[in-house]
């Protein structure tokens, strides 16, 4: 264990240390920069994991081909969001929506969230994974309520209660997995280590595993935002600071989905247990269709894109539920590109809401004239999220639809219906927001375009050309997922 250049523990430990430091330091300039530096250091540590040989997993931490995709994505979006965040909170300080004291709290919580998410992704221990996801939930609850308006507190409270119920159900499922494992593996820590569980899952009591998976799917599914457990998601996205909306949509939903995937792999290792696929397919399709129709009635721009996140998490869950190399590949690609695109859209939306002093869609029009960079950035983002070529999401959705048509044509029809309905809603609203006669106030805003266009460029590049190395990697992971 001593030939590592960078030990994997650093990935959660850097943000943890930064959180402690940022909680103590005053001042906007210094802390915003430190926030960026810390996330950059975390990203570099995560990238260095790519170049190291695979290691034997310990009782707490694990780095394998599956979670390294999530970790790199997580730390990358964490870094770009911190760049966006520094210009975003600068504006919020100027207009007095945030006070310096809350800013310090905000930065500490941001780093703590990063630490918790990375720990959850690297956890080889289902108990540790649960604790990390709980901490991540708590920090986001606190950040959603940071503006302290009536609506923000309501959103935070709703998120809190639903999230708590979700993590409580997930804990019950975790306990049941332990009870199933204990007669086979023996008492103690080893019966919670994920690699041990998978290796021995064939001998577990299948009935107990089934019940456990239902609890885990409902519990972590609440955090993924799957219908009908999604109620917290739009409020939390709409009322919190926009960097948090970006991190919630782009990352935290993925982390919860990752937990579901780990347990799905556990179920697959036991031949007598139910196949989790159909459950995930049903929940995924329900989320997709529900969110697609709900998109038409949104009046708040952040809430609008929050529903689009529910829609996409539905698609991704559907893809992983279908299983098979092709659908899993499409799911992984969709997840990666959705994270990049959606956080990019929120970067644009954050500055748009600042420039127009409102989040109401009806009060925003003609952005391409008044704020060309933001307006066109948003247009490209929406084109990407709607799944149009040549941007990357077109490819993953095309793969998913064609592989589904080959295996279950009826499901594919529902899938396509959901995609088209959402497509219509996205362009209906985009037309009003981006084009037409400019309306309302237009404040100048010091926007940071770097993160937005970096994300969009990556999504475009993925649509035009996927490097063979990446394709091989994703294919390998798709086979792991089964």
């Amino acid at each position: 264990m001593n030939h590592f250049i960078v030990p994997p523990q650093t990935v959660p430990l850097i943000p943890l240390g930064a959180a402690a430091l940022l909680a103590l330091l005053p001042g906007y300039r210094l802390t915003a920069r430190l926030n960026v530096v810390a996330t950059l250091a975390t990203l570099l540590a995560a990238l260095s994991l790519l170049f190291e040989p695979l290691r034997t997993p310990g009782p707490y931490l694990l780095v394998d081909d599956l979670n390294i995709v999530f970790i790199v994505l997580n730390t990358f979006v964490g870094f770009t969001t911190s760049v966006f965040s520094s210009s975003y909170v600068g504006h919020e300080l100027e207009i007095g929506r945030l006070t310096p004291r809350y800013l310090r709290f905000y930065h500490a919580m941001y780093q703590l969230l990063m630490a918790a998410m990375n720990a959850a992704l690297m956890a080889n221990n289902i108990g540790l994974m649960w604790v990390a996801i709980e901490v991540a939930t708590l920090t986001t609850v606190l950040m959603v309520g940071i503006y302290r308006t009536h609506e923000a507190l309501e959103a935070a409270w709703k998120y809190f209660i639903l999230g708590s119920v979700g993590i409580a159900l997930a804990l019950f499922g975790t306990i049941l997995v332990y009870v199933a494992a204990q007669p086979v593996i023996g008492e103690g820590l080893q019966a919670m280590v994920w690699t041990k569980l998978v290796a021995n899952a064939a001998y577990f009591d299948p009935a107990l595993l089934n019940v456990a998976f239902i609890f885990l799917l409902l519990g972590y599914g609440t955090k993924v935002g799957l219908a009908p457990l999604h109620a917290w998601l739009p409020d939390a996205h709409a009322e919190g600071p926009t960097p948090i909306s970006a991190v919630l949509s782009g990352l935290l939903l993925n982390v919860a989905l990752y937990a579901v995937l780990r347990f799905k792999m556990l179920m697959a290792a036991n031949a007598a247990a139910i196949t989790p696929g159909p459950l995930m397919v049903t929940m995924g399709l329900a989320s997709l269709l529900f969110a697609a129709f709900m998109l038409y009635r949104r009046r708040d721009i952040k809430r609008f894109f929050a529903y689009s996140s529910i829609e996409h998490m539905g698609i991704i869950t559907f893809a992983f539920g279908m299983g098979g190399t092709l659908a899993n590949f499409a799911g992984l690609l969709q997840m990666t590109l959705h994270s990049l695109t959606k956080s990019g859209i929120f970067f644009a939306v954050g500055h748009i809401a600042q420039a127009k002093s409102t989040q109401r869609i009806d009060d925003i029009a003609g952005l391409t004239e008044t704020h060309p960079w933001l307006g066109w950035g948003l247009v490209v983002g929406v084109v990407a999220i709607a799944g149009l070529p040549p941007l990357g999401i077109f490819m993953s959705e095309f793969l998913l639809v064609s592989s589904t048509f080959a295996r279950a044509p009826l499901l594919a029809i529902l899938l396509v219906l959901g995609l088209l309905v959402a497509f219509g809603a996205l362009f209906l609203r985009l037309n009003g927001i981006a084009f037409g006669e400019p309306r309302g106030v237009n404040h100048p805003v010091k926007a940071s375009y770097g993160p937005l266009f970096a994300h969009l460029a990556l999504v475009l590049a993925a649509g035009l050309y996927l490097p063979p190395l990446l394709v091989a990697w994703f294919q390998h992971v798709s086979q792991l997922l089964g």
């Binding site: 108990g127 409270w157 409580a168 159900l169 306990i175 009935a207 009322e239 809430r303």
Partner: protein, 220 residues
């Protein structure tokens, strides 16, 4: 001797389910808090008994936490909050007491049927602990959905969490139990502080459409 061990564990876990039922029909906040304190006390005894049976001294920490934090500090703090905020003393229910009790009985039946059937391989103590724990969890959920008042929702959540503690301690030799119970205590402390700081009195699905629109950010 093994009989006494089993019977005592059975008595305490069953008592927890009964007290969950008592929580369901309380119609005053103060008496609800008293019953919750009793709930936590029985949990503490149950966990301590498990610690003794399993010869696992670390579980005494969980038991102590249940006794000191959940049975004493939280009820006292919530009572002061109720007085300070002047929250009305009666509990508004969404569904009447009668139907709630019937639903509760159905849930307990369900958890017995499910858990006893799937845990045939586990030890008898773990088996009945899990079945009772699921019953307590479901009753806690039932309480959360049938109450309008934020404080009684929180009490529902805390009783649910007691059920999880029962399950975790009943699963012999489970690691991280103490850590998890500490994490949950922090969560509960946050909730209670949240109620106090933000003066949350009601759940947000009122019948007032105007309030709904405000909560959803949709001004039509």
């Amino acid at each position: 001797m093994p009989n006494l061990a089993f019977d005592t564990a059975h008595l305490l876990a069953g008592g927890l389910v009964l007290i969950s039922f008592m929580l369901l029909y309380q119609d005053r906040l103060t008496s609800l808090l008293n019953v919750y304190a009793l709930h936590a006390l029985v949990l503490a005894l149950s966990v301590a008994w498990q610690a003794h049976l399993q010869n696992a001294p670390h579980l005494y920490v969980t038991a102590g936490l249940a006794l000191g934090f959940k049975a004493i500090i939280i009820p006292v703090a919530l009572r002061r909050i109720i007085e300070r905020l002047g929250i009305h003393r009666e509990i508004e229910t969404v569904v009447g007491i009668g139907p709630t009790m019937l639903a509760g009985m159905a849930l307990v039946g369900l958890s017995m049927v499910v858990m006893l059937r799937v845990t045939a391989a586990a030890t008898p103590i773990a088996r009945q602990d899990l079945a009772f724990a699921l019953a307590v969890v479901l009753l806690g959920l039932l309480m959360m959905v049938t109450r309008r008042n934020a404080v009684s929702q929180v009490v529902g959540f805390m009783s649910l969490e007691n059920g999880l503690n029962l399950a975790a301690t009943g699963a012999r030799g489970m690691p991280l139990v103490v850590e998890i119970s500490v994490a949950f205590s922090i969560l509960i402390a946050f909730i209670v502080i949240g109620i106090f700081l933000f003066r949350i009195r009601e759940r947000f699905d009122t019948v007032d459409i105007g309030a709904l629109d405000q909560a959803r950010g949709e001004h039509r």
